[in-house]
């Protein structure tokens, strides 16, 4: 066997002398590792695959990819992203106006206005996913092998290189037996071989990073699946109080029984709530008060429809009017500003007929004809006719309904009758967002795996102890992947119990900086 490297070229862990794989990360380290030994020249294809595999198996490449993704993500936060900017204009109008014509077009062309779905961002992410898979496979198998079949009898030199060491008196027939017993009682798994002993605890901690990686791969695949049709569906619904709207593509419909908004005394909003009823094939199946943070959920756990309180809108709804002649009030009329009826019978003598209605009245500057300026109810104008019981015309009126408080309604009437505005009431719409995202259980599952992996990685410490019976005394060397201080405490206790002493450790081999560590204890 060739002389092995002292330290792993990939992860820098201290290597056992005869190691062919790094026990920490599993990379082949000996020059004659079986993976590398080949009889004949491999084909170009195999060479290419080998090169690609080696590329993705490198931690350096993974770190560079992580940093590149971070930089790309930063770029995406410096430019307003499509769908997140607060403006009604479409991107091709908005960006040139916001950043100037040249820069705006450049940003759109490079994909910086939708960074997180751009090809270059997704390429980096998927390269990292490949790297995660290859790195994990490359290391997991050798690591598992090394942990399951450790070398028990080590050279003395190896023991004397460990960060924590102790010496125990050699007593009795089998000096290693009491040590083995003590270690077993402390939950260690113990091997014996010749004059050597090996024990370890918390092996699971070494598998943690791979658990995290598996979780992250699940998350990445779940996020990627959103691109498939039908996996992630959103419908925005505007529903007036009392109305029912069907959910497109389903047998479901939602009725908004009532939308309420509450405010704090200082005017800040406190509550947005829609009292909703869900209907399936016209049958009522669920009542729920939808609030922000309290969506309505209906359907199987792996892909329910969820309906969120997203927005609300108040628009001028009904104008309340009185029919007057002179100073005498003849009756009341309520004109619907959204879709007024053809005629309103007020008294047996007088009907009000809506000739024409403009919800946002304007005289077209080109033709001089009345038109609607927008789709909003912003400037409602009625052209009315008053009709008697026999159909004879009693008068006419052009009425501009006041929708702002404190503004007088304007009107021009001919004849004895006129409508006089006494009030206006609003029509409330709730803005609901219905979503069904089939990736959610997978994403949450992936996150769960990541968190379990993090617990294993960061809170289960792998402690390894080797001991050699030298005849006159027992030398003990120990190391851990984390929490060297805790290991040292434990070895000290074990050594004292067996009549020995800690010989090497961070408070023993005293340096000025760590002197305080011992003293303060």
């Amino acid at each position: 066997m060739n002389v092995a490297l002292d330290r792993c070229p990939d992860c820098n862990a201290t290597l056992p002398e005869e190691a062919r794989y790094c026990p920490a990360c599993g990379v082949p380290v000996a020059p004659d590792a079986p993976l590398r030994r080949r009889r004949e020249e491999p084909s170009p294809w195999v060479q290419f695959l080998d090169a690609a595999w080696d590329f993705f198996a490198s931690v350096r490449v993974a770190v560079v990819l992580i940093v590149l993704i971070a930089l790309a993500a930063i770029a995406g936060t410096l430019v307003e992203q499509e769908g997140l900017y607060q403006d009604w204009r479409p991107p091709e109008l908005y960006y040139p106006a916001r950043y100037g014509p040249l820069l705006g077009r450049l940003l759109m062309a490079t994909g910086l206005t939708r960074t997180y779905t751009s090809w270059w961002f997704l390429t980096l992410v998927y390269l990292l996913v490949i790297s995660l898979i290859v790195c994990s496979l490359q290391r997991l198998v050798p690591l598992h092998r090394a942990l399951q079949r450790p070398t028990v009898e080590k050279h003395l030199g190896f023991l004397l290189r460990q960060p924590v060491q102790a010496r125990l008196p050699a007593q009795g027939e089998d000096p290693l037996a009491p040590l083995a017993e003590t270690l077993r009682r402390r939950g260690y798994r113990v091997w014996r071989e010749g004059k050597g002993l090996h024990a370890d605890r918390g092996r699971l901690g070494r598998y943690g990073p791979y658990v995290i990686h598996i979780g992250l791969i699940i998350c990445a695949l779940a996020a990627g699946a959103k691109a498939l049709p039908g996996v992630d569906v959103t419908h925005d619904l505007w529903i007036e109080n009392g109305q029912t709207v069907a959910l497109p593509g389903t047998r479901l419909a939602i009725r908004n029984n009532r939308f309420t908004m509450e405010t704090y005394p200082n005017g800040m909003p406190r509550l947005f709530q829609t009292q909703a009823t869900l209907l399936e094939d016209g049958r009522e199946v669920l009542h729920h008060n939808i609030e922000v943070n309290k969506p309505l959920v209906y359907g199987p756990w792996w892909g329910p429809w969820e309906i969120y309180q997203a927005s609300w809108r108040e628009e001028p709804g009904i104008a309340h009017l009185e029919l007057v002649t002179g100073d005498r009030v003849l009756g009341k009329v309520d004109l619907d500003l959204k879709s007024p009826a053809r005629e309103y019978p007020v008294t047996p003598e007088v009907r009000v007929v809506v000739e024409r209605y403009f919800h946002d009245f304007e005289l077209d500057p080109a033709t001089g004809q009345p038109v609607n300026r927008s789709r909003e109810i912003a400037n409602p104008v009625f052209l009315l006719r008053f009709v008697g019981p026999d159909g004879q015309e009693l008068g006419r009126q052009a009425l501009n309904v006041a929708i702002q408080p404190g503004v007088e309604a304007r009107s021009v009437a001919e004849g004895p009758y006129a409508l006089r505005q006494v009030g206006i009431s609003s029509r409330w719409y709730t803005g609901l967002r219905a979503r069904r995202d089939l990736t959610v259980p997978y994403m949450y599952g992936g996150l769960g795996v990541v968190m379990v992996g993090m617990y294993i990685t960061f809170f289960i410490f792998h402690r390894q102890i080797w001991a050699l019976d030298l005849g006159t005394e027992v030398v003990l060397g120990a190391r851990t992947n984390k929490d060297r201080w805790g290991l040292q405490q434990e070895v000290r206790r074990i050594a004292r119990a067996l009549g020995g002493e800690l010989t090497v450790g961070s408070g023993v081999e005293r340096s000025p900086g760590s002197a305080g560590a011992e003293g303060a204890r």
Binding site: I69, G76, T77, Q81, L271, N293, R435, S514, A515, A520
Partner: protein
């Protein structure tokens, strides 16, 4: 509510006293050690009885400092509970509450790590960072605001508290990594750029502190306010408006020493008020940095003076403490800032991920710490390269918390984006 303000003041001054004691004790001990080494003596452990009388104060100082820091942490905890009681909601809903909470978390992280390592220098690192954070929280309006519907959720407690706890550990990791960088610095080999980068951390810290003190004085002590009325609304400045909001006219807000206010109006895509604040922070922080350098370091660059103090510290131990802080903070941060954030986003907005600037920056911070954890395992990139990563990571965390709210508009903008 008043009780909470008083308790926080107690906490602040305890932390301040503790950090002064820690730093004084640390420097004193270093001097003694150097003197002893010069006299051929051997420095032994720090413990009662084994100390020369002259150095007794310095040797006992870390003990007192620890007691003070613990007292401050307890007062802070009670203060947070009192504010919870008074406000009727968990007090992490605006920047004042959140940054105060985060400074509390950095003290919790310090207590945890101190229990693991019993390393007094840790106190000299963690308490100044906590003082700086808590001081910075006073820059923001202290009024309790009722919760808007989006924030009325139990996830507010879980998401924000866990994120802040993770960030508290990152703060300690940052401090240890910075000390590691100073300790392992080799002045002869340091390139100009590397030196500037290291020094800029201290410049930045002085700028932030100056600005915090200034803003606090103007807001609470002098009560000065400049009001600029525009068509779109009213802009209230607590610092003289050199840069006015977009659309304001020069001289609209009066003048200061003959200088018309505002002097210029900001272009449309910048928040004029925050640009103005930034201008003041840089303009005043730089002379303060220079002044501190003259007074504290005898004109030497901070990195030079502090590197001398750091000589003799166990670099490996500093590296390990920094790593350990990240190793605890990283899973907690992942849970709070990413996992719980996704759960909440799903419940509140219907999607677990939006690429909103705030969550993107939390993700970026997470990536930086992921890179840090892998760098430490890579030959040639462990040590200083990964220590720099821990420093950069904390920079990303701070930008996530403050920078995003101040500079970038997004879904989280209700968290208080104005100074």
């Amino acid at each position: 509510m008043t009780a909470s303000h008083w308790l926080l003041a107690v906490a602040f001054f305890s932390y301040l006293a503790a950090s002064i004691l820690y730093v004084a004790g640390f420097i004193g001990q270093r001097r003694l050690a150097l003197a002893a080494a010069g006299a051929g003596g051997q420095v032994t452990g720090v413990g009662p009885g084994s100390t020369p009388a002259a150095g007794g104060f310095y040797l006992r100082a870390p003990g007192w400092a620890f007691a003070l820091a613990t007292l401050g942490t307890l007062a802070h905890a009670v203060g947070i509970l009192a504010r919870w009681q008074g406000a009727g909601h968990w007090p992490t809903a605006n920047l004042y509450e959140f940054i105060g909470f985060m400074s509390f978390c950095s003290m919790v992280a310090f207590q945890v790590l101190y229990r693991l390592y019993r390393f007094p220098v840790l106190g000299a690192l963690a308490t100044p960072v906590t003082v700086a954070l808590l001081a910075y929280s006073y820059v923001f309006p202290r009024e309790v605001e009722p919760l808007i519907p989006q924030l009325r959720s139990h996830w507010l407690v879980l998401h924000v508290s866990f994120a802040a706890l993770g960030e508290g550990f990152f703060a300690v990791a940052f401090a240890a990594a910075l000390l590691y960088l100073l300790r392992t610095r080799e002045a002869e080999k340091e390139s100009r750029l590397a030196g500037l980068a290291l020094e800029s951390i201290f410049w930045f810290a002085s700028t932030v502190l100056t600005f915090a003190v200034l803003a606090y004085l103007l807001r609470y002590t002098l009560g000065q306010e400049w009001v600029i009325v525009l068509d779109r609304g009213v802009s209230r400045y607590h610092l003289p408006p050199i840069i006015g909001p977009a659309g304001s006219a020069p001289g609209q807000a009066g003048s200061l020493f003959g200088l018309p206010l505002p002097l210029v109006a900001a272009p449309g895509w910048i928040k004029g008020k925050n640009a103005n604040t930034l201008l003041f922070a840089v303009a005043l922080g730089t002379p303060v940095y220079y002044l501190l350098r003259r007074l504290l370091c005898r004109g030497l660059p901070f990195r030079e003076a502090l590197a001398r103090l750091a000589q003799g510290l166990d670099a490996d131990l500093l590296d390990e403490i920094s790593y350990r802080a990240v190793a605890i903070g990283y899973p907690v941060f992942t849970l709070g800032a990413l996992v719980f954030a996704m759960f909440w986003a799903k419940v509140a907005w219907g999607r677990y991920w939006f690429w909103d600037p705030k969550e993107t920056w939390a993700f970026i911070s997470w990536l930086v710490y992921s890179a840090y954890l892998h760098l430490r395992l890579t030959r040639g990139w462990e040590g200083r390269v990964s220590a720099w990563m821990a420093v950069i990571g904390f920079g990303a965390v701070l930008f996530t918390l403050v920078g995003v709210n101040l500079l970038i508009v997004g879904l989280h903008s209700y968290a208080g984006g104005d100074l």
